[in-house]
């Protein structure tokens, strides 16, 4: 591939850095895992870059590759997971009780998401990215009607999981 293509690729990677990082945060279980996944996604993006013809939006194409890579890599899951939170979750910085409670609940929610299945994580990620159900369908290939049903079930599951964490069950 030419140097121009490499520069163009670098620019697009940097512009859409957040997509890759978010996928890594959701699917990587620890920092080393996240780094491996980041590397794998960039390699897969580069391999497919020559065949990108702009039929889909660049971000849609990128979500597909990032999620396909994260889901189908199917790394062995260890039972004990050292969960590392993304940097937007403050680490013991809250001053007031109210802030502390909010922080704790945020961690609970994030921990609950990490217990979802690979497919559920993908749906949650696109939901958090504020994608419409039609866009989700374009990326995941699941019909928008089914996605709506699944999303409701996921929300319910997350409620149960966060409650279970709160009451220690």
């Amino acid at each position: 591939m030419t140097e121009t293509a490499e520069q163009e690729f670098l620019l697009l990677i940097n512009q859409n850095q957040g997509i890759i990082r978010k996928v890594c945060h959701l699917y990587g279980r620890n920092d080393a895992d996240k780094d491996d996944l980041y590397q794998e996604i960039v390699i897969q993006l580069w391999k497919s870059f020559a065949s990108f013809r702009g039929e889909a939006k660049f971000s849609t194409w990128m979500y597909r590759i990032a999620l396909n890579t994260a889901i189908s890599n199917l790394r062995k899951q260890s039972r004990k997971v050292a969960l590392s939170f993304p940097e937007f979750i403050p680490v013991e910085l809250a001053d007031t009780d109210e802030e502390k409670i909010k922080e704790e609940k945020l961690k609970e929610m994030y921990a609950a998401i990490s217990r979802l299945t690979e497919v559920e994580k993908a749906i949650v990620m696109l939901y958090l990215e504020d994608k419409s159900y039609d866009e989700m369908e374009e990326i995941l290939g699941i019909s928008s009607g089914t996605l709506r049903v699944k999303m409701n079930r996921i929300k319910e599951k997350l409620r149960t999981l966060t409650k279970a964490q709160t009451y220690g069950t």
């Binding site: 189908s72 945020l106 290939g141």
Partner: protein
């Protein structure tokens, strides 16, 4: 906390992390992919390399050290080598068809599962069927060209040869049964877990 509250903060995830520089990207792209399919492709290539080295060495050994009837072994190895090459091409073709990372996630995973199951079936059956073929051919060559056979007029009788062949076929058939189960166990050990997890994901994606 509700998911929608997390949504408000989600936009900031990864925003503080820098993207790679041109040099970092170069280094990153030179690394080998760790995806299961890339690993399978690398393993297949090493298998080919091993077979080429082994076959070339053995074939040359036969051609340089033997003459006459024993050379048939070298020719048999060439035939098996050519068959192996077609086997390699078929496996390579299946591996190349196994993924489409830029396709919709559901169709990619469906395809991956379908092709992987085909790949495993091909791997298992080719390994199982190769055994009786090699067993019978090797047995017949050893029998027909051994000095003992040539020294004894009874063993050179056509009827004796046919009986020997029939015995070899029966033995091959009996031994193929444990080979089939051994292959099945080995293939399952290699790919079983991966297939099961893919099936779980695909089923989850397909259910309404």
């Amino acid at each position: 906390m509700e998911l929608d509250q997390l949504k408000e903060m989600w936009g900031d995830v990864g925003s503080k992390e820098k993207g790679p520089s041109a040099d970092e990207l170069q280094t990153l792209l030179q690394k080998k992919s760790k995806s299961p399919i890339a690993k399978m492709k690398r393993n297949l290539f090493f298998e080919l390399l091993f077979m080429v080295i082994l076959y070339v060495f053995t074939i040359f050994y036969y051609f340089l050290n033997y003459t006459g009837g024993m050379l048939i072994s070298a020719w048999m190895l060439i035939v098996i080598g050519v068959l192996y090459f077609f086997y390699y091409l078929q496996k390579r073709k299946l591996l190349n068809r196994m993924e489409c990372v830029s396709c919709e996630v559901k169709s990619n995973l469906n395809m991956q599962l379908r092709v992987l199951e085909k790949y495993v079936k091909f791997y298992m059956w080719s390994g199982t069927l190769l055994f009786p073929i090699v067993f019978i051919i090797t047995g017949m060559i050893v029998f027909l060209y051994s000095p003992d056979t040539n020294a004894n007029p009874v063993t050179k009788e056509p009827l004796f040869i046919w009986v020997f062949l029939a015995v070899m076929i029966v033995f091959a058939a009996v031994l193929t049964i444990p080979i089939y189960f051994l292959n099945k166990w080995y293939v399952r050990k290699l790919y079983g877990q991966h297939i099961e997890r893919l099936k779980t994901i695909v089923n989850e994606m397909n259910e309404d």
